[in-house]
């Protein structure tokens, strides 16, 4: 009877390095080598959840329709009055960002659920890339929100929204929304690993996404706000990404908004993303 561990080609090399330094480098290389395929696996798993439980998509599907109708027909008259734009053209880019931020806030809820149910113990006992558990959640919600952009635009076109900025900017718009959502999903991931409780993670949607989106140019031009609020809205990254999307759809200057948006995306992915992964690795 052979009691030695069988060495398969897919297992890590059987003799571990002897110095802590080499071990650390080996771990890092290992992480990079398997990051893509393990993240793909975890993304597949999370997308299967949507497929088997389609009702979880209800708010992603109904949300943009509701907000579009509410804001356009209830507030649209008041906000648009005396201005030289069609309010629905102004509104749709804001709704794209807001609704998809709500969607990617599910990232943290899912992570908290996994932590609560003990799935994470199984994953952490497997030789998989450590960041793939969070990465899989982030990618799944990002893909869902990417699909939702096209859905929202289809509805908006039916209700009379039109692009005035040309074809290429209109095609870039969904990519910008997806990139920002991907970055923001890492914020939600950090919330998820920090609170480790699905209910708390879920209420964070309310406390994070609502103020951030309303205190920005999402629904109204910020010149209409009192000065102190304008100051906040002007630095709010949501204002910049919404203005970028708006100008992509309707024409207008892009460059300064694009730079600020790129800065925030990089900060959230690299900074918050590493922090979330670091916290995940330290969970015991």
């Amino acid at each position: 009877m052979n009691l030695q561990p069988t060495v398969n080609e897919w297992r890590d090399q059987p003799t571990p390095p002897t110095t802590p330094m080499r071990e650390a480098i080996g771990s890092l290389l290992y992480e990079f080598r398997w990051l893509a395929s393990d993240t793909a696996m975890m993304t597949w798993r999370n997308l299967m959840h949507y497929r088997r439980n389609p009702e979880t998509l209800a708010s992603t599907i109904a949300g943009p329709v509701m907000f579009l109708l509410l804001f356009n027909y209830v507030f649209g008259g008041a906000i648009g009055a005396g201005r030289d734009f069609n309010y629905i053209d102004y509104l749709v880019p804001g709704i794209l960002i807001q609704n998809n931020l709500f969607t990617v806030m599910n990232t943290g809820i899912g992570i908290a659920q996994d932590l609560q149910k003990g799935f994470v113990d199984r994953y952490r006992s497997l030789p998989m890339a450590r960041s793939a558990v969070l990465g899989g959640r982030v990618c799944a919600t990002t893909l869902v929100s990417f699909a939702s952009v096209y859905w929202t635009l289809a509805i908006a076109l039916i209700f009379g929204m039109r692009f005035h900025g040309g074809l290429v900017p209109a095609l870039i718009l969904p990519l910008v929304v997806a990139a920002f959502c991907f970055a923001f999903a890492w914020v939600s991931a950090l919330v998820g690993v920090s609170v480790r409780n699905a209910e708390t993670a879920s209420s964070s949607t309310f406390f994070v996404a609502i103020p951030l989106t309303f205190l920005s140019s999402t629904f109204v031009p910020i010149e209409t706000m009192p000065g102190w609020l304008q100051a906040f809205a002007e630095v709010n990254p949501i204002t910049h990404v919404v203005n970028l999307c708006r100008n992509l759809a309707q024409g207008g200057p892009l460059e300064s908004y694009a730079w600020v948006t790129a800065f925030w995306i990089a900060l959230m992915v690299i900074g918050i993303g590493s922090l979330a992964t670091w916290r995940y690795r330290r969970i015991s």
Partner: protein, 325 residues
């Protein structure tokens, strides 16, 4: 190197709460080690340390020659863990669960598919393989959890209370599966609160209480520590129970006789069961007491736990639950 697990003076504390204190443990390759103790004794903490989920506060441990802290990543390729929470994904099918585990062990797709079929067959899950786990029974979920942890054919497997909460039939089924594994050469570390389970499955048993190892040995050795055998006499008529008890208590080691009136049963603790039994039978015959049944009973692990700790396993569990609060 014929030890699959070597634990040297492992301690783990959370602030002031000590979960494990200077635990030593060796498990031979190819054997089954039963880790026995009440709820909250520290069994799960030890398993979590050995499966790289938790770092020990002090001490060291190797599994299959890999240090659980320094070589955690390597070790993970060679172990399987089936926990008490049965970490299977409700919304995936049984096959998909196994497939996902296999892919995360980085096995090639083909090999995972082949292995999944084998495991579904072996664990009697073929009919349910392509249904989502939501509809599985408790026993099926545990079997699937175990199957998923075995997908990479790990030479060492950790089972954390594999049968807790299962009905007796599912428990027996799972025991059979574990026995098959062992016969194929897998080393198993199994935690349980059920003394009978350890007795049935484990070659060696380590008893843990309040984070410390309090006894170690084979089931027989542990029973020997409890030291005594029991003679049990069941009389035919209820009114004879008292008379039988007074006869029996003359032979008891501690001059005490347990009476179970409902079942007409009396029992005593003795040193040498067989020879005293002969005398007991003679006396009962002289007293003309009709006997329905008689037996010399070996001590159970429950008796052992009582003998070592001075309390029953049940009382210990209640106690540590109160500690926990």
């Amino acid at each position: 190197m014929d030890n699959a697990i070597q634990v040297h003076q492992i301690s783990k504390s959370y602030g002031k709460v000590v979960a494990l204190e200077n635990v030593d443990l060796n498990v031979r390759r190819g054997s089954v080690m039963g880790l026995l103790g009440p709820n909250g004794a520290g069994k799960t903490t030890l398993v979590r340390i050995l499966t790289t989920l938790l770092r020990p506060s002090s001490g060291s441990a190797t599994v299959l020659g890999y240090d659980v802290v320094r070589h955690a990543r390597h070790l993970r390729s060679y172990i399987g863990l089936a926990g008490q929470s049965a970490a299977v994904d409700d919304l995936l099918t049984g096959r998909e669960n196994i497939h996902m585990a296999g892919r995360l062990y980085h096995m090639p797709k083909r090999q995972v598919q082949k292995r999944a079929n084998e495991l579904l067959e072996q664990f009697d899950l073929v009919d349910a393989a392509d249904r989502s786990v939501k509809g599985y029974s408790g026993g099926m979920r545990r079997r699937l959890d175990l199957a998923a942890s075995l997908v990479a054919e790990p030479p060492m497997i950790f089972l954390d209370e594999p049968t807790t909460g299962l009905d007796p039939r599912s428990r027996l089924e799972l025991w059979d599966v574990i026995r098959t594994l062992v016969s194929e050469g897998t080393t198993v570390l199994l935690t349980t609160q059920y003394l009978e389970e350890a007795d049935q499955l484990a070659h060696e048993i380590t008893v843990i209480d309040l984070g410390k190892v309090i006894a170690q040995g084979t089931a027989d050795e542990l029973k020997h520590q409890a030291g005594s055998e029991f003679i049990e006499i069941t009389v035919r008529d209820t009114e004879d129970t008292k008379r039988a008890a007074s006869v029996l208590s003359n032979y008891a080691e501690n001059n005490e006789c347990d009476i179970d009136e409902e079942n007409n049963k009396t029992s005593i603790m003795v040193k040498d069961g067989a020879s005293i039994m002969v005398q007991v039978v003679r006396s009962l015959d002289t007293e003309d007491i009709p006997v329905a049944n008689m037996a010399v009973r070996q001590p159970t692990l429950d008796d052992v736990f009582l003998a070592i700790t001075g309390r029953t396993a049940e009382a210990a569990a209640t106690e540590s639950e109160q500690d926990g609060n």
